[in-house]
Assembly symmetry: C2
Homo-oligomer: 114 residues x 2
Amino acid sequence: MKQYCKFESALDILIGKWKPVILLQLISNGTMRFSELLKAIPDINKRMLTQQLRELEYNDIVHREVYNQVPPKVEYSISEYGQGLSKVLQVMNDWGEEHIEHMESLYGPEEKSE
Amino acid sequence: MKQYCKFESALDILIGKWKPVILLQLISNGTMRFSELLKAIPDINKRMLTQQLRELEYNDIVHREVYNQVPPKVEYSISEYGQGLSKVLQVMNDWGEEHIEHMESLYGPEEKSE
DNA sequence: CAGCATCCAGACGGATACTG
DNA sequence: CAGTATCCGTCTGGATGCTG
Protein backbone atom coordinates (compact mmCIF):
# COMPACT_ATOMS: atom_id res chain seq x y z
CA MET A 1 0.00 0.00 0.00
CA LYS A 2 2.85 2.30 0.79
CA GLN A 3 4.87 1.10 -2.17
CA TYR A 4 4.28 4.14 -4.30
CA CYS A 5 4.58 6.71 -1.57
CA LYS A 6 8.34 6.70 -1.75
CA PHE A 7 8.32 8.35 -5.09
CA GLU A 8 7.45 11.57 -3.36
CA SER A 9 10.99 11.51 -2.06
CA ALA A 10 12.24 11.55 -5.60
CA LEU A 11 9.89 14.38 -6.33
CA ASP A 12 11.31 16.39 -3.46
CA ILE A 13 14.70 16.39 -5.10
CA LEU A 14 13.42 17.67 -8.39
CA ILE A 15 10.97 20.29 -7.27
CA GLY A 16 12.18 23.80 -7.05
CA LYS A 17 11.95 26.04 -10.03
CA TRP A 18 15.60 25.83 -10.98
CA LYS A 19 16.69 22.33 -10.01
CA PRO A 20 16.00 20.87 -13.46
CA VAL A 21 17.94 23.58 -15.25
CA ILE A 22 20.85 23.39 -12.85
CA LEU A 23 21.03 19.63 -13.16
CA LEU A 24 20.86 19.93 -16.92
CA GLN A 25 23.77 22.34 -16.94
CA LEU A 26 25.92 20.20 -14.70
CA ILE A 27 25.10 17.04 -16.59
CA SER A 28 26.01 18.49 -19.94
CA ASN A 29 28.95 20.63 -18.89
CA GLY A 30 30.44 18.66 -16.04
CA THR A 31 32.17 20.79 -13.42
CA MET A 32 31.12 24.42 -13.32
CA ARG A 33 31.95 27.40 -11.19
CA PHE A 34 29.32 29.39 -9.39
CA SER A 35 29.67 32.31 -11.76
CA GLU A 36 29.50 30.03 -14.77
CA LEU A 37 26.20 28.66 -13.63
CA LEU A 38 25.02 32.19 -13.07
CA LYS A 39 25.88 33.10 -16.62
CA ALA A 40 24.52 29.89 -18.08
CA ILE A 41 21.12 30.40 -16.50
CA PRO A 42 20.27 33.98 -17.41
CA ASP A 43 17.10 34.46 -15.38
CA ILE A 44 18.40 33.14 -12.09
CA ASN A 45 19.99 35.26 -9.40
CA LYS A 46 22.59 34.53 -6.76
CA ARG A 47 20.22 33.89 -3.92
CA MET A 48 18.19 31.41 -5.90
CA LEU A 49 21.21 29.65 -7.31
CA THR A 50 22.79 29.32 -3.89
CA GLN A 51 19.62 28.07 -2.31
CA GLN A 52 18.86 25.42 -4.89
CA LEU A 53 22.49 24.35 -4.99
CA ARG A 54 22.50 23.90 -1.23
CA GLU A 55 19.49 21.65 -1.36
CA LEU A 56 20.97 19.56 -4.12
CA GLU A 57 24.17 19.41 -2.15
CA TYR A 58 22.39 18.31 1.00
CA ASN A 59 20.82 15.48 -0.96
CA ASP A 60 24.24 14.51 -2.26
CA ILE A 61 23.24 15.12 -5.86
CA VAL A 62 25.87 17.74 -6.50
CA HIS A 63 29.36 17.99 -5.16
CA ARG A 64 30.74 21.30 -3.93
CA GLU A 65 34.47 21.90 -4.11
CA VAL A 66 35.73 24.98 -2.32
CA TYR A 67 39.16 26.43 -3.04
CA ASN A 68 40.38 28.50 -0.13
CA GLN A 69 42.00 31.29 -2.03
CA VAL A 70 41.52 34.85 -3.09
CA PRO A 71 39.51 35.43 -5.12
CA PRO A 72 37.27 32.61 -3.90
CA LYS A 73 36.54 29.78 -6.25
CA VAL A 74 33.84 27.17 -5.86
CA GLU A 75 33.14 24.42 -8.30
CA TYR A 76 30.02 22.34 -8.59
CA SER A 77 29.56 19.00 -10.24
CA ILE A 78 27.19 16.06 -10.24
CA SER A 79 28.27 13.68 -7.53
CA GLU A 80 28.98 10.04 -8.17
CA TYR A 81 25.72 9.20 -6.53
CA GLY A 82 23.88 11.94 -8.37
CA GLN A 83 24.68 10.28 -11.70
CA GLY A 84 22.02 7.73 -10.87
CA LEU A 85 19.43 10.42 -11.21
CA SER A 86 20.14 10.83 -14.87
CA LYS A 87 18.24 7.73 -15.83
CA VAL A 88 15.24 8.91 -13.84
CA LEU A 89 15.44 12.22 -15.60
CA GLN A 90 15.69 10.37 -18.89
CA VAL A 91 12.52 8.40 -18.23
CA MET A 92 10.69 11.50 -17.17
CA ASN A 93 11.98 13.31 -20.19
CA ASP A 94 10.81 10.61 -22.56
CA TRP A 95 7.40 10.54 -21.01
CA GLY A 96 7.26 14.32 -21.00
CA GLU A 97 7.95 14.35 -24.70
CA GLU A 98 5.19 11.88 -25.44
CA HIS A 99 2.96 13.85 -23.18
CA ILE A 100 3.51 17.10 -25.03
CA GLU A 101 2.50 15.40 -28.26
CA HIS A 102 -0.51 13.90 -26.58
CA MET A 103 -1.56 17.28 -25.25
CA GLU A 104 -1.20 18.79 -28.70
CA SER A 105 -3.38 16.12 -30.22
CA LEU A 106 -5.98 17.02 -27.64
CA TYR A 107 -5.78 20.77 -27.50
CA GLY A 108 -3.74 21.71 -30.55
CA PRO A 109 -0.24 23.19 -30.61
CA GLU A 110 0.57 25.60 -27.83
CA GLU A 111 1.19 29.15 -28.91
CA LYS A 112 3.89 29.97 -26.45
CA SER A 113 4.07 33.75 -26.64
CA GLU A 114 7.02 33.64 -24.31
CA MET B 1 20.85 21.10 -25.62
CA LYS B 2 17.14 21.21 -25.06
CA GLN B 3 16.89 17.45 -24.80
CA TYR B 4 16.41 17.32 -21.09
CA CYS B 5 14.15 20.30 -20.76
CA LYS B 6 11.07 18.32 -21.64
CA PHE B 7 11.14 16.50 -18.39
CA GLU B 8 9.84 19.59 -16.74
CA SER B 9 6.58 18.81 -18.49
CA ALA B 10 6.47 15.52 -16.70
CA LEU B 11 7.22 17.31 -13.50
CA ASP B 12 4.28 19.61 -14.01
CA ILE B 13 1.93 16.67 -13.96
CA LEU B 14 3.24 15.33 -10.71
CA ILE B 15 3.69 18.48 -8.74
CA GLY B 16 0.88 19.53 -6.55
CA LYS B 17 0.79 18.32 -3.02
CA TRP B 18 -1.87 15.67 -3.55
CA LYS B 19 -1.33 14.44 -7.08
CA PRO B 20 0.88 11.55 -5.97
CA VAL B 21 -1.57 10.33 -3.37
CA ILE B 22 -4.55 10.63 -5.68
CA LEU B 23 -2.75 8.76 -8.42
CA LEU B 24 -1.76 6.10 -5.93
CA GLN B 25 -5.35 5.65 -4.84
CA LEU B 26 -6.69 5.41 -8.35
CA ILE B 27 -3.95 3.07 -9.44
CA SER B 28 -4.51 0.65 -6.60
CA ASN B 29 -8.28 0.88 -6.35
CA GLY B 30 -9.32 1.52 -9.94
CA THR B 31 -12.50 3.54 -10.28
CA MET B 32 -13.44 5.67 -7.30
CA ARG B 33 -16.15 8.15 -6.47
CA PHE B 34 -15.43 11.63 -5.33
CA SER B 35 -16.50 10.86 -1.78
CA GLU B 36 -14.46 7.68 -1.71
CA LEU B 37 -11.34 9.60 -2.58
CA LEU B 38 -12.23 12.07 0.09
CA LYS B 39 -12.42 9.31 2.67
CA ALA B 40 -9.34 7.53 1.41
CA ILE B 41 -7.20 10.63 1.77
CA PRO B 42 -7.94 11.83 5.28
CA ASP B 43 -6.12 15.14 5.26
CA ILE B 44 -7.47 16.48 2.01
CA ASN B 45 -10.52 18.67 1.64
CA LYS B 46 -13.03 19.10 -1.14
CA ARG B 47 -11.55 22.17 -2.70
CA MET B 48 -8.11 20.62 -2.90
CA LEU B 49 -9.36 17.32 -4.22
CA THR B 50 -11.45 19.01 -6.89
CA GLN B 51 -8.63 21.25 -7.94
CA GLN B 52 -6.00 18.56 -8.26
CA LEU B 53 -8.44 16.24 -9.97
CA ARG B 54 -9.26 18.92 -12.52
CA GLU B 55 -5.63 19.36 -13.38
CA LEU B 56 -5.09 15.66 -13.76
CA GLU B 57 -8.21 15.52 -15.87
CA TYR B 58 -7.04 18.35 -18.08
CA ASN B 59 -3.83 16.46 -18.69
CA ASP B 60 -5.84 13.38 -19.56
CA ILE B 61 -4.35 11.38 -16.73
CA VAL B 62 -7.65 10.67 -15.02
CA HIS B 63 -11.02 10.05 -16.56
CA ARG B 64 -14.12 11.70 -15.11
CA GLU B 65 -17.44 9.97 -15.51
CA VAL B 66 -20.49 12.00 -14.52
CA TYR B 67 -23.83 10.35 -13.89
CA ASN B 68 -26.65 12.85 -14.34
CA GLN B 69 -28.82 11.78 -11.48
CA VAL B 70 -29.90 12.72 -8.00
CA PRO B 71 -27.93 12.42 -5.84
CA PRO B 72 -25.02 13.26 -8.13
CA LYS B 73 -22.42 10.63 -8.74
CA VAL B 74 -19.03 11.18 -10.28
CA GLU B 75 -16.47 8.50 -10.77
CA TYR B 76 -12.78 8.95 -11.37
CA SER B 77 -10.31 6.51 -12.83
CA ILE B 78 -6.90 6.46 -14.47
CA SER B 79 -7.35 7.01 -18.18
CA GLU B 80 -6.01 4.64 -20.78
CA TYR B 81 -3.32 7.17 -21.52
CA GLY B 82 -2.65 7.80 -17.85
CA GLN B 83 -1.60 4.18 -17.38
CA GLY B 84 1.62 5.04 -19.12
CA LEU B 85 2.54 7.18 -16.18
CA SER B 86 2.75 4.19 -13.90
CA LYS B 87 6.13 3.13 -15.20
CA VAL B 88 7.46 6.63 -14.67
CA LEU B 89 6.13 6.55 -11.15
CA GLN B 90 7.73 3.16 -10.69
CA VAL B 91 11.14 4.41 -11.74
CA MET B 92 10.86 7.42 -9.50
CA ASN B 93 9.67 5.24 -6.69
CA ASP B 94 12.60 2.87 -7.04
CA TRP B 95 15.04 5.71 -7.10
CA GLY B 96 13.26 7.38 -4.18
CA GLU B 97 13.67 4.22 -2.17
CA GLU B 98 17.38 3.98 -2.88
CA HIS B 99 17.66 7.61 -2.09
CA ILE B 100 16.07 7.27 1.32
CA GLU B 101 18.61 4.61 2.20
CA HIS B 102 21.39 6.74 0.87
CA MET B 103 20.27 9.68 2.97
CA GLU B 104 20.12 7.50 6.03
CA SER B 105 23.63 6.28 5.47
CA LEU B 106 24.69 9.92 5.33
CA TYR B 107 22.65 11.50 8.07
CA GLY B 108 21.32 8.56 10.04
CA PRO B 109 17.71 7.40 10.25
CA GLU B 110 15.10 10.12 10.22
CA GLU B 111 13.10 10.46 13.37
CA LYS B 112 9.82 11.31 11.80
CA SER B 113 7.82 12.60 14.76
CA GLU B 114 4.82 12.93 12.49
C1' DC C 1 -23.23 14.24 -3.25
C1' DA C 2 -20.23 17.01 -5.78
C1' DG C 3 -18.07 21.23 -6.30
C1' DC C 4 -17.68 26.34 -6.64
C1' DA C 5 -16.63 31.03 -4.23
C1' DT C 6 -14.40 33.56 -0.84
C1' DC C 7 -11.00 34.55 2.19
C1' DC C 8 -6.53 33.68 4.34
C1' DA C 9 -1.76 31.95 5.78
C1' DG C 10 2.53 30.33 4.71
C1' DA C 11 5.90 28.84 1.40
C1' DC C 12 8.39 29.93 -2.59
C1' DG C 13 10.66 32.83 -5.75
C1' DG C 14 12.91 37.36 -6.80
C1' DA C 15 15.50 42.18 -6.37
C1' DT C 16 18.76 44.48 -4.00
C1' DA C 17 22.40 45.60 -0.85
C1' DC C 18 26.03 44.14 2.06
C1' DT C 19 30.29 40.98 3.45
C1' DG C 20 34.69 38.01 3.65
C1' DC D 1 34.23 35.80 -6.56
C1' DA D 2 30.92 33.69 -3.90
C1' DG D 3 28.09 34.16 -1.14
C1' DT D 4 24.52 36.03 3.08
C1' DA D 5 20.67 39.17 4.80
C1' DT D 6 16.58 41.52 4.17
C1' DC D 7 12.43 42.67 2.28
C1' DC D 8 8.60 41.93 -0.61
C1' DG D 9 5.25 40.06 -4.08
C1' DT D 10 3.07 35.97 -5.93
C1' DC D 11 1.32 31.57 -5.91
C1' DT D 12 -0.11 27.33 -3.74
C1' DG D 13 -2.60 25.15 -0.53
C1' DG D 14 -6.19 25.18 3.27
C1' DA D 15 -10.79 26.34 6.13
C1' DT D 16 -15.28 27.38 5.62
C1' DG D 17 -19.75 28.27 3.68
C1' DC D 18 -23.07 28.21 -0.15
C1' DT D 19 -25.45 25.89 -4.21
C1' DG D 20 -27.77 22.59 -7.64
